[in-house]
Every structure is written in C-alpha cells, then in structure tokens.
Symmetry: C2
C-alpha cells in the first residue's frame, strides 16, 4: 500500500520550522511495511488543501495530513474535509469530556474555543487524542483513506502509534519491507561505488542499495521487499538474505565500514573504550571543542572520557599540555611535531590511556603558501605508539571543523582496534 | 512570483534524513522577496519525477529540484529532465575541468564516473558548483523555470546563494521587500508576544512581524513591502520606516534582545571582548565542549579565546582547575559551590580575564530527586565578582546541551556589559 503525507501550514512553507514530523512518520510507516510514495506541503487555505489532497490521492491509497487543526488555525483542515466529503458537523460530547479532563489535569479552565474543537464532521471516525486537545479524524471515500492529525509532534506521534498504524495495518495489507545499513567514513560516494560495482550489479531484484552521503561519511542502505504476504517465515527468510548481503558488502570494504544502523563514530568509539577498559582524552586546537562535543553527546561517555583541553594559544599548549615552546617556535603549531607533542602531553595532562590531538587552520584566514587554509594535522597516541595524519580540506571554517571531526574520530577508532 | 520546491530521493520518503534543505531554501527565497507556495518530495524514479514536476509547475513560476544527481543515483534527475525537454546530452569540458581541479585539490585521482557527471543536457544553462562535483542546471520551458541542484546541503547552499537567487531576481521581477531582524534569547515566543502585543497591533499594513523560534532563542523579523516599483527613493523610505519600527520594538524588550540580523550570541560576545581587550575561557562539564565549539566557530576567536577545559570527572576538576575535592565531596559537582570554584579556578588555569563554568546533568540518566535530569548550574567570574545561575531543562540530552549553550552565552554577554 502507498501512503502520501500532506503537511498543512504556512510555517513550513516560509521555512519557519523544519518538518521533522514527516521524517518520523515515514520511518514508523516503513518499519511496519507501509510505503510512503510522496510528501507535500501546502499553505493554510481551503483551495491549497483541496488541491494538495487531489494530487496526493491520485497516487496513494491513504493520505495522512498533519496541521491546520485548532482554534488559531480556524480549524481549516477540519472544515475543508467536511465540505469536501459533504459531511455535517456535530458537537461530540465524548471529545469535549476528554478535553475537559485534559484541562483539569493541567489545572486550567477550559477555554470557550474548545466547544468548537469538539465539533466534528459526522462522517469521520474520531481518533481520541489523550495528550492534547485536537482529535485525529479518519475518513473513507471511494476506497481511499484520509487521516487528519494535529501538527504538534508528540500529539501526532501518540496518535500514529496508538490509532493510525494499528488501523492501517488492519485496513490494508502491509507490504513487507526490511532494511540493513552500513556506515562508512572518509571515502567519497563514487569511489565506494567503484569498489562495490560488481556486488551492486548482482543484487537480486528484490534488494536495492542506496547511498546516503553526508559530510565525510556515506551510509549504504540495503532494502529488501517481498512479493507475497509477510508471514513470519517470509520475514525470517528475507532478513537472512539481507544479513548475508550485508556481510558480503562489508567484506568488500572492511577498511571503510565503521558501524551499522543507528550507530555513530562516537558511539562506536565509546563501545570499544568500554570493552577495552580504557580512558580517552582530547587536545584540540583548530576544532575548538567540536570533537569533545561529539564524544560527550553519547550518553554514558563520562565512563571513559574524564575530560579534554582546547589549547588555542601557544601559551595554553605549553601550560596545559607541557609542550616545549621551542617545538612551537621551530615548527609552528600546525605541524607533525606539534600534534605529536600535544597527543603525548595529553596522556599525562588528562590521565588517559589514549589521546587525540588536532591542530590546523580552520579558516577563513590564517593560511600561508605552504600551510593553506584547511590544513589539519591529527595525532593519536598511547604509551607505546603515535599515529599521525595530515589532511588538506577546503576554505569553509565550519565544514573544515566538521570534516576534521569525522577524520579524527575514524583515526581513533582504527588506532583502538589495532591495539 | 511563486516557487515550488521538489526534493527527489527515497531517503526523504523513508525518513532516513530530515529535509532541512527545503526549510533553508524557503527562508532564503523569502528574504529575497520570493514566495514558496508548495513543497513536495518524490522517489528516485523517472515517473515519480515527471509527475512531481507536472504537479509543481501547475501552481508555480519556477520549480527548484534538489537531489537525484550524481553517478550513484544514476543521474536520474538529469536524464529525466533531458528526456522531458527533448534535449540531447553532451560532454561539457568546462565542468570536467572544474571536477578535475576539485579532485586535484583534495589529492585524489578523478574517478571514471566523473565523465558521466560532466555529460550534461544541451538545453541546460550550467550552474558551476565550486564546492562539489555535480553542477546545477537551469532550464526554461514555456515561460517556466526548472532548476536542478545537488542534495548535499552545503553544495545546494552554495549554488542557491551564488547562482540561483541572483538569476531568479533578474529573470522575474522580485517583489520589493526589506527585512530587519532582532535576536532574542532565553524567553518563550508567547511571553514575548504578550509584551509586544500593542506594538504588533499598530504596525502599518505594509510591515509584518514574524516570530522565528529556535531552541532557547526567538528571532523577530520585520518585513516591509512596497506596492509600486522599488526605486532608490522608495527603498530609502521603506528602510527608514523599518529602522524606526525596529528601534521601537527593541525599546520594548531591551532585556531580551542580544543582537541583530546575522549576528549570534558567540559573535556578539567576541565583539565585546575585542572592544574591552579581554581574554575569555570556559570550563565545561555537562556541555562537554559544546560552548567551546560555539565560541571557536567565530572566525578570529583565537584573538580573545586562548583555550578551555572540559572537566567531566572529579579528578580533572581538581587537576586542571585546582578545585578542592572536599567541595565536590560535600556539595557534588552539580552545585552552586562547584561552578563557583570552577569559574574562579579557570581564571588562573586559562590565564583569562573572564571565565564561564557549567556543570549539570545532561541525561538521559544520572538524575536524583533533588537534582533531576536537566538541572544545570552556570557561573561567570572575573577577578572581582561571580554571577551564578541555575536552570532546570528537560530530559533530552542534546537539547539540554544546546539550551545550556544559549543560556550560558547570554549570561556571559550580560556579565561583560555590566563590567
């Protein structure tokens, strides 16, 4: 079955809010074997909603609308749907009681506008919203399903989980679909494509490979579908086939794959550190705390990450990391010698087993002919060895910082695995 | 003029990525007086793209497509557009040279697939992409404009700023429009709205106020439009009217406004520090380097920011900041006493004039009944005084970190201005 998501509201069109709702809805529907074949956004007018619905339903079995409900929006979605489907509107006591209960719980008086909120199209099946005021609505017309939900994320999520998905699964036969994702770092999309070309060409009809690139990283997603109904047996077989293909793909590029599914470089490093019982610290210059931020964005990172320093100035590199000033004077802070000394210095300064150091020129200014903007040196050290890497990225400050984060964390990962 | 945004790619439909591109594009187009009247997303197939285009162009003067370019997507967008418009494809030497230059700069061999990347529809005006490999394309057919851009955000942003927006402004007569923006921190949208209600009610017809909320911040944007052609005189008059309204608005909420237009809390703090000739440093615990990252994302921050420490563990708080362990033992790391000692300790440890310290429970775990997840203490100190603040945010780790960043930087700003 095919679903179209239609978001209603000017705030999406002027870019005032980012539409995170429809990504969440797609993920959930997908997980349950339902396919989103299109998404669209329209403004807060009757005409825009009617046009949007016509377009949506031409290519889908069901349309899920979000937004355009509630008194400040003049209940535009509800009124438009009632008119479109020729439905009268009636006061719905159950809904009003639920709204009363909601306001009582948060200790407020029920606003007069809530009588309108509880006046609903007679043809709609009402989906009770237990976490807010505007109920969801379910219409069926000429074999198609139209669902209207509030735009507030947690209200929409509540109704999707508890009302919409269970009802859709009963109403339509969900198409079986499963995913497996490999995460790669530090190689471009087209170079990866070249290395796995033969694999890709020989994939069975029912398995597709997608490349999902981000800055310095590419996710490789295998999607498997099934022609018949998804019995438990069919699901197990498709899962096994996908797992086999995933293993095959991984074996082609073991140097590039750092993790699977919802992992991140920082979560993978965290897992290795916990397993190896090691403490890790960072000494950053040009990335200015960005790598520390990535590492500490992982819940529980305090277990293996006692702390770090950002040493922007020569003085701090000397004072906090104990680097001899003659190293900095002779070779400069952006040099192999400096990052080596920083990483070794950080081992003692931070009392850790493994330390990462970074020094470079993030830009936009500060470059020289032999050290252009984008030049970054990185080092990883433990008590026995030091690995060093140099990269030259581009001219954009923030992009340089983010790319360095990916390269540096991947270097740490490999260093830990070689230990 | 009306614009429709069409994103192409299964990754949007299955919810693997959140579509931040189209929010950014809407904002930019809006700033330049162009209106986005619809958005939609379709999958990676020829039929879906053709259907999506037909729907899009029925209601807009121009369609901007993102995604579906590049060798691993089989260049589906490019091929579909060439077929749709009856255009031949030719090798485009200029584009190939640009791609060669790009790979040379990053020290890589040009992959063979790049010859395809440089094979382009004859009818397209090529928009050179200086920050990636896939060029943008501009088609005109029957009075409508069709623009295709890569989906990688910074490549799309580069092409929008440097090629698409300037060309659209020449091709269509952009509606005369001017903006003035005030930036506020640490107050919610509805409380701000209440304080400026009378101002908002009395705005002239041709000036609108928009609230643009983000985590812990709200931008207030005044937009002025003009009925006739935008002569120099008209522009000056409208600009003066907007400036007067901006000053009026600012005077109503001087405690909330921290800056204007493209400034940020970190850039405003940087400007004050340069002006006051002061050095600044940070000692972070629960924010784990995020505040350091914000500060160092400003070009030239090394002038006033020698460095910082992230002290996650008790040991590092003692070792790097010299905090007496009995303070931590008696009051805990998340306490008024701890952040006071951290800020004062950071003044000496980092050799700075002003220091910020932060300690809290970012979550999702680690809360206690009297210190729930989301509890954050912040302190700002110089050699004479210490300001301290406590906040209790929510349960989401990343949101807590980001909200703390805003509250802490705003506190530093006020501290510096009171000096």
């Amino acid at each position: 079955m095919n679903i179209h998501l239609l978001t209603i509201g000017d705030e999406i069109l002027i870019g005032q809010i980012v539409d995170t709702n429809s990504a969440w809805m797609s993920q959930q529907l997908n997980l349950h074997g339902m396919r989103v074949t299109g998404k669209s956004s329209v403004g807060d007018t009757r005409q825009a909603i009617v046009d949007g619905l016509q377009h949506a339903v031409a290519q889908a079995d069901a349309v899920i609308m979000t937004g355009g409900l509630g008194p400040t929006k003049d209940d535009i979605t509800k009124k438009t749907l009632a008119t479109l489907f020729g439905s009268g509107m009636s006061f719905h006591p159950e809904t009003y009681e639920r709204i009363e209960g909601y306001f009582t719980k948060i200790g407020r008086v029920v606003p007069p506008a809530m009588r309108d909120q509880a006046t609903l199209p007679d043809l709609a099946t009402i989906l009770p919203n237990k976490v807010g005021t505007a109920p969801g609505m379910w219409f069926e017309q000429a074999g198609k399903v139209y669902i209207s939900l509030p735009g507030v994320p947690f209200e929409m999520e509540y109704l999707m989980r508890n009302e919409v998905i269970p009802r859709l699964k009963t109403r339509f036969e969900a198409r079986p679909i499963l995913h497996r994702t490999l995460l790669t770092a530090c190689e471009g999309e087209s170079n990866i494509a070249r290395r796995i070309e033969a694999f890709e060409d020989q994939l069975p009809e029912n398995i597709k490979l997608a490349y999902l690139p981000a800055l310095g990283q590419v996710r490789l997603r295998l999607t498997g579908t099934w022609a018949g109904a998804m019995t438990d047996q069919a699901e197990t077989a498709l899962g096994a086939l996908l797992d086999a293909k995933k293993a095959e793909l991984w074996a082609l590029i073991p140097d590039l794959v750092y993790g699977v599914e919802e992992e991140s470089l920082q979560s993978v490093i965290g897992d290795i550190l916990v397993k190896q019982g090691k403490k890790f610290g960072t000494a950053e210059s040009c990335t200015g705390g960005y790598v520390a931020h990535l590492i500490t964005s992982v819940p529980g990172s305090s277990q293996y990450y006692p702390g770090s320093v950002v040493t922007y100035s020569y003085e701090m590199k000397h004072k906090l990391l104990g680097i001899h000033t003659d190293i900095l004077d002779q070779f400069g802070a952006v040099s192999e010698q400096a990052v080596r000394a920083m990483a070794i210095g950080a081992l003692d300064a931070l009392d850790v087993d493994v330390a990462l150091s970074i020094s470079g020129i993030a830009g936009p200014d500060g470059g020289t002919p032999d050290k252009p903007v984008g030049t970054v040196w990185m080092a990883v050290a433990d008590r026995k060895r030091v690995e060093i890497q140099k990269q030259v990225f581009g001219r954009d400050r923030l992009k340089n910082i983010q790319l360095t984060g990916t390269y540096a964390l991947n270097m740490v990962r490999k260093f830990l695995l070689e230990a």
